[in-house]
Symmetry: C2
Subunit: 247 residues, 2 copies
């Protein structure tokens, strides 16, 4: 579905931003870049910033007008940094990208970015069905163009279902092994005389909470019980030596 | 709460990335930047890429070790691009940032980024309580460092409740006005003879659907009814003339 999405950059001033935008797109699985009257393109700075997304740059479509860039597109979301004097509906990236993604299931859609300094013109925005605004620090809202492309493509990719691969196989310990550990722990704490200064029930409850959060694995229980065994053996040896010395 | 969050960049190679990261942070309302042994800092390239976030750079804390950077921190999320051979828990940005944000309500927390080429070392990751992974194109997963900072700070800002300001005041038309328009429309379509070739009920249903999506405002209804009036008047004049000519 990401294949039906074109990223359209209008009148980009700095070619480095075009390259960085291409890189941002490609990391999120997007590949169709349209450029409306870029000031410099192709350009070595664009290539440098693409850092491996040169196929996106190579296939970029350079257009002479917005209507050319949006030909065949059924749904366009335009970015806006301002929120005043705007009559179109405005949504957050999180609201807007699932809609774009939905439309992209069947037909071409576009995500439209304006020029670095002043964004899209009113005429350009009028071509869109929806506006998207990245909520930003009111005292410093100037996201870099490629950074905005990265955020939007990230949201698109999440909307398209990107997630983590299945968890690496873990081996959580079964109940009886966890309980075996707690019994061993409690016994060991008694043996080393720890409970002479502590309330056993309360302390065990706190320790249970700690290990519950950790979600113990079998192997870890083996390690912990190993430590307990050594501790009590060491303690037993100490006690024997003490008794021998004071005989 | 964002005030309790520090962004920690470990062994950053390119000073431009430090500047761009500072800019990304500031756009999302974050301000505490910690740098572990940056290769070049301060540096004119960092200043240039900060583009107005120079206060974040000026206040950046340069540290000699990760433990120095994490002093006082109660919860650390470390970024990872790889998912193999990892024993810590890994979450998506959308899962991890609300957790970081939660902890930040009370005490300092950190978001930890590794070096451009190879990310964080295992030793550095071991300092974190949680790993975060930005799902990326498996064939091209190399997000720029500042782009990754932008995505994570964006998620933090959303987690902190950033959204759109209240909607600009709209004046949706009340039910009776909308119905008045539909009556007028239907009558006009009859008058101009449109329904001789169309099923009236079915067509009106489709038109209702269209205008429902548009959520008509009062003023728009006035405009539309104005158009209808002119249309039928024009039609009436045409009819009169026709009748006169064929008398």
């Amino acid at each position: 579905m990401l294949n039906n999405i074109r990223v359209v950059l209008s009148h980009t001033t700095h070619p480095g931003n075009i390259g960085a935008a291409a890189r941002a797109m490609k990391t999120m699985g997007l590949r169709h870049l349209y450029l409306i009257n870029p000031r410099h393109f192709p350009d070595p700075q664009a290539d440098a910033m693409a850092a491996g997304a040169d196929d996106v740059l190579r296939d970029a479509v350079v257009c002479g007008s917005i209507d050319e860039a949006l030909q065949g597109v059924v749904f366009t979301v335009a970015m806006t940094a301002r929120l005043r004097d705007i009559s179109l509906e405005v949504k957050t990236p999180r609201e807007a990208m699932p809609l774009l993604q939905q439309h992209a299931a069947a037909q071409p859609v576009a995500l439209l970015f304006g020029t670095e300094m002043s964004g899209l013109t009113n005429e350009e925005m009028g071509r869109a069905q929806l506006l998207a605004h990245i909520p930003a620090n009111p005292d410093f809202s100037s996201l870099n163009l490629a950074a905005a492309v990265q955020v939007m493509c990230y949201e698109l990719s999440v909307a398209a279902g990107a997630g983590l691969p299945a968890l690496a196989e873990t081996h959580p310990a079964p109940h009886e092994q966890v309980e075996g550990f707690f019994s061993h722990l409690e016994k060991a704490l008694f043996e080393i005389g720890f409970f002479t200064t502590q309330n056993p029930a309360r302390l065990m409850q706190r320790l249970r909470r700690l290990y519950a959060r950790a979600r113990l694995e079998q192997e870890e229980i083996n390690i912990l019980r190993g430590i307990l065994s050594v501790t009590t053996e060491y303690n037993a040896r100490l006690k024997t030596r003490y008794l021998q010395e004071h005989k």
